[in-house]
């Protein structure tokens, strides 16, 4: 099963993303800070990482850079998910080595397909009726 790691300190945001991805058939791992995120990225080898930028302790930018440095997870797509939606922020995120950017609040109707755009076709969940 395709594995997605979410690194997010806000419990509610985390619950929403986790719910959506599970409903569409993904295995979801969660970390509440950068330190755990970095460790899980190396240990559990997720197929994709969703990274909040304003994390306590090690920032999202720093966490992404460290995940990239670890030899085991250099290729994993890392998507920034953040409320940094003020004018001029998007460019910075893309310049700092993220593969993509999703601004909060996420749009539930399109969230999963936006994420899937970063997965190789073979790793996308088989779309059935997502209702449990």
């Amino acid at each position: 099963m395709t594995r997605i790691l979410i690194v997010e300190d806000n419990q509610t945001n985390l619950a929403l993303m986790e719910y959506l991805l599970r409903a569409f058939g993904y295995e979801v791992l969660t970390a509440h800070d950068g330190e755990h995120g970095i460790a899980m990225a190396a240990r559990d080898l997720p197929d994709l990482i969703l990274m909040d930028l304003q994390l306590p302790g090690i920032s999202g930018f720093e966490s992404a850079a460290r995940i990239r440095e670890a030899s085991s997870a250099t290729q994993v797509p890392i998507i920034a998910v953040t409320a940094f939606a003020m004018v001029g922020d998007r460019e910075r995120v893309l310049a700092e080595g993220f593969d993509g950017y999703i601004s909060k609040p996420i749009t539930p109707e399109t969230f999963v397909s936006e994420i899937e755009a970063y997965l190789p076709p073979g790793r996308r969940a088989v779309r059935g009726d997502p209702r449990p």
Binding site: G88, P108, R131
Partner: protein, 339 residues
């Protein structure tokens, strides 16, 4: 020493009391010796010294109180030999004002920093709970947890559209605050208008489609280039085009790029109800939303046009409004010539 009446007032002596006294009597004790040396040096090489040259000195009144002064000196050749005229100005008040200005500036600086921190924090804190509201309303409406009754669906739709309205308001407010505080970083680059307009059109096409409007782009690729900030310009066009779609009940909305003289111009043309001549001057102000013909309050912050106007100023561009021939409004963004 001879003094005039102003000096008598300033130092609290009567003129005759100072006759025959050295000038050092008017100077605080601690400065006297130094002053005596300066004075002797000055007499050997006298020249005019204007008010405010040199350091602030101190004067001493008859009652012993001290106060800051500025002096100017002019040598004076007389029958009784060389004299020096000293004009003395009490700068107590000026120093007080300068100090209080410096304090005020520091206070303002601090207040401004507090405001910036506040905005950055609020940006995050306001959006986070909205994320939850919009998000879980969305999952409910997607029926992921289970089926909905008609009433439940309608009420959830109201929750969702209100939350989206609130989000638009917060976004506009925060963007505006960033513009007002000069915190927008601009990167001017050469942009193919067609590319930019296509991005904007792609974002808004679903809105136009939902209203059954004809929505198209008139701009041959490579025909019009601008030198501008991509993000700011696309935000302006998004605002103008979203407005056009919102206020046009039927017909079309078109985004087109062309040249006006040597300057590039991008127009958002609609076939909507148009805007009355007498209302046009209010359009670009904050929190103005004109009553529409159906006196229906449209969803929106009332900040979009004001924000666009401010962003255009940063880009040295001008936004103007003209009626569309045959009915409707045309908003034009006239950009600087590409050198």
């Amino acid at each position: 020493m001879l003094v005039n009446s102003q000096a008598e007032l300033l130092f609290g002596y009567l003129g005759p009391e100072l006759l025959g006294q050295p000038v050092e009597i008017l100077i605080p004790a601690s400065f006297r010796r130094g002053h005596q040396n300066h004075r002797e040096g000055y007499f050997s090489q006298p020249r005019v010294r204007r008010m405010g040259e040199g350091l602030t000195l101190y004067g001493r009144r008859k009652d012993g109180s001290e106060f800051p002064v500025e002096i100017s000196l002019s040598p004076l050749q007389t029958d009784e030999g060389r004299l020096v005229t000293a004009a003395i100005r009490d700068v107590t008040e000026r120093q007080r004002v300068e100090r209080s200005l410096a304090e005020k500036n520091l206070e303002l600086e601090r207040a401004n920093q507090t405001k910036d921190r506040f905005l950055a924090t609020m940006s995050h804190e306001l959006r986070t709970p909205l994320n939850a509201i919009i998000g879980f309303t969305g999952t409910l409406l997607m029926r992921l947890p289970g089926p909905l009754t008609t009433d439940q669906e309608q009420q959830l739709q109201t929750v969702q559209s209100s939350a989206r309205h609130l989000l638009a308001l917060i976004n506009d407010l925060l963007d505006l605050a960033k513009v007002e505080s000069g915190k927008v970083e601009l990167r001017f680059e050469r942009i193919d208008c067609r590319e930019l307009i296509d991005e904007v059109a792609a974002a808004l096409a679903p809105l136009a489609r939902a209203k059954g409007l004809l929505f198209d782009v008139h701009c041959p690729p490579g025909s019009v280039h601008v030198r501008s900030d991509r993000r700011a310009l696309s935000q302006i066009l998004l605002n103008l085009a979203a407005n056009a779609i919102k206020f046009t009940p039927a017909g079309y909305v078109r985004i087109e790029a062309a040249h006006e003289g040597s300057r590039p111009i991008i127009r958002v043309v609609d076939s909507g109800p148009g805007i009355r001549e007498e209302d046009r001057h209010r359009l670009f102000r904050a929190f103005e939303q004109l009553e529409s013909t159906a006196s229906l309050r449209h969803e929106g912050s009332g900040l979009g046009l004001h924000l666009s106007h401010r962003l255009a100023e940063l880009l040295n561009a001008e936004i103007s409004l003209t009626p569309t021939p045959g009915g409707g409004s045309t908003f034009s963004v006239l950009l600087p010539e590409v050198s």
